[in-house]
């Protein structure tokens, strides 16, 4: 079992990185089903379970940046469970989803932990140290990949049943609370942009954008096009106003 668990952990390493970086979508359950099926020697069950999980996760995509239940771990645990226990692939969904929700919570924590490292990156940027910036990104991927490898290895090595009872003993308010916090997080990023860009004379544009999206439910592209129209109007008004005094000056020289 150690050998197989290790191979699956390596696949989790690769697929986990692909979820955020690379995005070739080898991390989808459809592909994981094929790979886990090959590793565990049951291609048919792997393919069928992978396809079943793929359909479950089709709607669970990171819309508007909100993290859905983790598709990598869900796919790997679900397929491995179906093959190892020879259960109906549909049952695999019930096993995969709690794991995926727990990992989603853990990822929220990881994005929080990565935040202080950005101040290190600021210093590298100020020194124009391009190699150090690259290193931070490589380390980030390595760290994320190892995390996935570990999460995939443990339940397969120790058995899905034991792992399931550990996951279900995690308190709901903790995992749910992390996902609530994840939904609020973009506010901090937007506030940081406001700190850089906001001036009193632009306040009405901020409010206009908010109202267009809130009451008229306009998509962002529509809001941006309206903003471009307003900005274009403003641009030509300003340009013409500065052109005129220049002309007057020329005339006065003439007289």
């Amino acid at each position: 079992m150690f050998g197989e668990a290790l191979l699956i952990a390596i696949w989790a390493f690769i697929a986990g990185i692909d979820l955020f970086d690379g995005l070739t979508h080898i991390h989808r359950p459809l592909v994981t089903g094929l790979v886990v099926g090959l590793i565990l020697g049951d291609l048919q069950t792997g393919l069928i379970t992978g396809a079943t999980l793929e359909l479950v996760w089709m709607g669970m995509v990171p819309l508007a940046g909100a993290q859905p239940p983790n598709v990598v771990i869900g796919g790997i645990i679900g397929c491995a469970f179906a093959i190892l226990t020879q259960q109906d692939p549909k049952l695999a969904v019930g096993v995969a989803v709690p794991f995926a929700v727990a990992v989603q919570g853990a990822i929220t924590l990881m994005f929080t932990i990565f935040s202080p490292i950005m101040h290190k990156a600021d210093i590298y940027a100020e020194n124009a140290d391009t190699k150090a910036i690259a290193r931070i990104n490589y380390m980030g991927m390595l760290f994320l990949g190892l995390f996935y490898a570990l999460i995939a290895f443990l339940p397969i090595y120790y058995g899905a049943d034991l792992a399931k009872s550990v996951v279900s003993s995690l308190p709901q308010w903790f995992i749910g609370g992390l996902s609530v916090a994840g939904g609020m997080m973009p506010a901090i990023g937007f506030a940081m942009l406001l700190k850089i860009m906001y001036k009193r004379e632009y306040a009405m544009f901020l409010i206009t954008g908010f109202i267009l999206a809130t009451y008229l439910k306009l998509p962002l592209l529509a809001v941006a096009i309206i903003a471009v129209c307003v900005a274009g109007y403003d641009y030509y008004i300003n340009k013409n106003n500065t052109d005129k005094p220049a002309k007057r000056e020329v005339r006065s020289h003439g007289i």
């Binding site: 932990i113 931070i136 901090i188 506030a191 860009m197």
Partner: protein, 273 residues
């Protein structure tokens, strides 16, 4: 002039970006979210992806540092369509636009592209290609996953490379006509940027109170019956303003992130969130 603070020492605007730099940026753009975090989101990965162009453009080390520092600011967009913004920004950097304008363009484009990308990939390309693959694999056909990967990545890499050169060429053309009026262009970019931030606040932050208050016979759902009647999305807006206020009071972003995590967990525990 006030904009002097944000302009570069070396004013030369030679065309130094070639196909080679653009291609290297496309490959690097795959790692846009390598160091993703709640404080800057994709900023560090964005900087990493821009480095091939920045190194070629800013021979002067101080200019390079200045540019890199600006690109470490908060950034978040759709990871597939990002190369379009990269192309435009590379053209702007090459033309030594002032940083305020570059920042304005980045913010103005990242939001709409995020929405377009969601619709294009998560709601169209992925369901169609994965649907075809899954329909084969569910019968045990090994071609399912393979067809899915081939179809999906033709679209994926086609767009990545296509949008990079399209973005760069658009940027170069736009710069030629806009260079003389930098001050007004930067003001216009700021207007679009702030309008988009307003819309982002309304669409990308989820904060709702599921609490239902029972007063005798009457049940009042706090979110639907009270808050939404006053001003929908007032909580996301209020929370952003609170964060902005605290940032100006010199609270560090990391502290605000931790506060947000605690609010989320405690809020869930007492059933308020």
């Amino acid at each position: 002039m006030e904009s002097n603070i944000e302009t570069y020492q070396d004013p030369s605007t030679d065309k130094v970006i070639t196909k080679k730099e653009l291609n290297r940026m496309v490959w690097r753009s795959l790692f846009l979210q390598a160091s993703f975090n709640y404080e800057r989101m994709q900023a560090c990965g964005w900087l990493y992806s821009m480095i091939p162009a920045l190194e070629k453009i800013h021979k002067n080390k101080q200019d390079l540092a200045k540019s890199m520092k600006m690109h470490m600011e908060f950034f978040n967009t759709h990871p597939f369509l990002v190369t379009f913004i990269m192309g435009i920004v590379a053209a702007m950097e090459e033309n030594k636009e002032d940083q305020e304008t570059i920042r304005g363009i980045k913010v103005a484009t990242m939001g709409p592209l995020g929405g377009i990308g969601d619709a294009m990939f998560w709601l169209t390309a992925l369901p169609i290609t994965a649907g075809i693959g899954a329909s084969l694999a569910i019968d045990g056909n090994i071609l399912g996953p393979i067809i899915f990967l081939v179809l999906f990545n033709i679209i994926h890499f086609g767009l990545r490379f296509g949008l990079m050169s399209y973005g760069y060429n658009t940027g170069v053309r736009a710069m030629q006509s806009l260079k003389e009026n930098t001050k007004y262009v930067s003001r216009a970019a700021n207007i679009v940027g702030l309008t988009v931030i307003g819309a982002l606040i309304a669409s990308y932050i989820s904060l709702k109170i599921p609490l239902v208050v029972t007063a005798g016979q009457a049940k009042v759902a706090l979110q639907a019956d009270v808050l939404d009647k006053v001003l929908p999305n007032m909580l996301p807006f209020g929370y952003t303003i609170l964060m902005y206020y605290l940032l100006n009071k010199n609270f560090s972003p990391v502290k605000l992130i931790l506060v947000t995590v605690i609010i989320g967990i405690v809020g869930k525990l007492v059933g308020f969130l």
